[in-house]
Amino acid sequence: MSDESKRHFTGDARLIAESLACIRGGRVVFDGLDFEVAAGEALIVTGRNGAGKSSLLRQIAGLVEVAGGRIALDGGDPELTLPEQTHYVGHLDALKSAMSVRETALFWSGYFGGGDIGEALAELDLDDLAELPVAYLSAGQKRRLALTRLLLAPRPVWLLDEPTVALDKASVARLVALMETHLARGGIIIVATHQDLGLANARSLVLGTPQGGRADVSESAPA
């Protein structure tokens, strides 16, 4: 399995959003949103608080209703729905305090049909903590455990909602390296963040310009 998780994703997949709209709590958050992300590319979603970054990511993961337009993974696995091809790491860590770190990883690996967990835990420097109950973890350690899900089963699209929250500097660097690897393998990453991650192959999408729901997409290549 851990070999398979190193395989490349189909190189021609593209995540396409066409005049996407989102309505939450009766208010239009954004609408007419168009973007495309190709395999090996990251889309960095920025914008002020409440602009709709989290809403967009949850729409892609199938967790918020698409109020208009469409979103699809062209060239992805036709047998699977879009949410089944995504890893979503949101504001909530989805951890159970009564389970140990190892049990948590084992569960998600099994549920997502993945393989060995040892490597994933090591990648996020959690192997020393493997036997500890989640209740004992600090905020950043919890976050790292949530992030191991990305490595437990291979899925082409990563949806990361402020993934660096609570991480120390070393962990941020580690996460960025993992993201680069995923991109190099032909994966797609959509990340909402307020922090500059310095990814090489990234476009950026700015949501919620003051005027209203309109959004801009621009090509960019930060250092």
């Binding site: 009564a98 493997a130 036997e131 209740a135």
Partner: protein, 251 residues
Amino acid sequence: MAGMSELTASQRFQAFANPARFMALSDRLLPFCTGATALLLAAGLYLSLFASPPDYQQGETVRIMYIHVPSAWLAMFGYMVMAGASAVALVFRHPLADIGAKSAAPIGAAFTFLALVTGSLWGRPMWGTWWVWDARLTSMLILLFLYLGYMALWATIEEPVRAGRAAAVLALVGSINVPIIHYSVVWWNTLHQPASVFRIDGPAIATSMLMPLLIMALGFTLFFMTLLLVRMRAEILRRRVRVLRLARTEG
């Protein structure tokens, strides 16, 4: 950088997980306790089952008394030990008190169960039923529930310090029940026997039956103490293992 005069936290923590003096003391005490328990119980059983006379009213069934009454006493005694230790644990934060309270609970619960069962067995010939909902029996059932609740609380809260404090609060609040059990026969007219040993005007029970009863009671008490020591030692060892394991996972 550390305060010079004080213990460092890790030293204090070692002291916490390692009540060495108790271990040494209990190690020397245990053989005597075990021996005395065996002697007293053997003597008590012989006296109560063979040497004492059958009751003129109850016949041979009266022999249940020699088990029933001491276990009922120890059920209550056990709770008092537990509540007392809990109070010490809450006020003085002494780790041994915590361990003592936790270790006393299952023993007390077992004696409560024994009192309930023997009482029930005795009730069948005496009252014509296994169980009635009178005040003595009900308050005794509550005592069992309190014990079980106490143990359940320990079992569900993962962290020993937190679990110990929460359980101590519960034990203290529940201690109200003990006087209720004792005085239930006075406050309400129940089917159950009124007190006949611990009375202001002396025991109202024949010496031929009182002697074996007292010996059995003493034997049961020593048995309780022995079990308590064993369980406390086991708990201390378990905590040591836990500390070692935690120390191994990351500094």
